[in-house]
Amino acid sequence: MKILLNGEAFATDAETLDELCARLGFAQAKIATAVNGSFVAAAQRLATPLADADEIEIVAPRQGG
């Protein structure tokens, strides 16, 4: 399926958000996620299936003012 990962087209066959994060090497990383504009808690990623055209955000801490 094709999704939008952090604003860019991305092809994946990961079935859940948790699986996508793991495949990207984020299993132990300090990240947070949103799907289609809504926050998805870490504990909910396993129960969050991915669908074609989903918009996924994976964010991490960064410098800010």
């Binding site: 926050f39 991490a60 801490p61």
Partner: protein
Amino acid sequence: MLTLYGKSFNSRLLLGTAQYPSPSSLKQAVEAAGAEIVTVALRRESSRARTGQGFWTLIEELGCKVLPNTAGCRTAKEAIATAKMARELFGTDWVKLEVIANDDTLQPDLFGLVEAAAALAGEGFEVLPYTTEDLSAAERLVAAGCTVLMPWAAPIGSARGLINKDALKTLRAYFPDIPLIIDAGIGAPSHAAEVMEMGYDGVLLNTAVAKATDPVKMAAAFAKAIAAGRLAFEAGLIEPRDMASPSTPVAGTPFFKIDQAS
């Protein structure tokens, strides 16, 4: 002491973590400022660069209270989702809530800000809203559950100082018991001292320190100015007057004759 949402701090200088020439200059600037609260952000993480992971290690080393922002959010919905991601990531209910209306001025969208503040307060967030000096917006933010307000002095990064001093005075007078922190637009330590003399509770800085020729020295300069301004406020400033008033006693002036007095 500066008390925000039940937590007390000795320092009244809140420092941003962006735009420093290096991670070590950021660390040294935080130390020189004596800052106990630092702002941070969230950004998209690349699986290759993994930039955020190293930054998080640096933040942990600082040992400061972390205040995540929602910088760049354009709608209440975006700000709410970002705040929730920040809460999970940084493990704090605090959020510096920004909903931006305009690219050139980076002024807050006050309507979206109030909407997001109410929604987040309802979900247990402790909201520190980046707002303007507008009194009616401030009243609505307080009604929405904010117990701290962060009005701008001038647009973010503009270094212009207090461009609407009268309105900032009004805000202080209307909310004597709400901690008011100036967030954005400060360029010089004298700006920060001035607003502290007016009775503001703190100053949040980033660009003025990070983009200085020597950020560490500038952080120290701001720390002194903010402490001095606060001390002056507590000491009680005299009122300005139109005419001169001699500081040296008039009585006993040598050569004085009563008919010379005018």
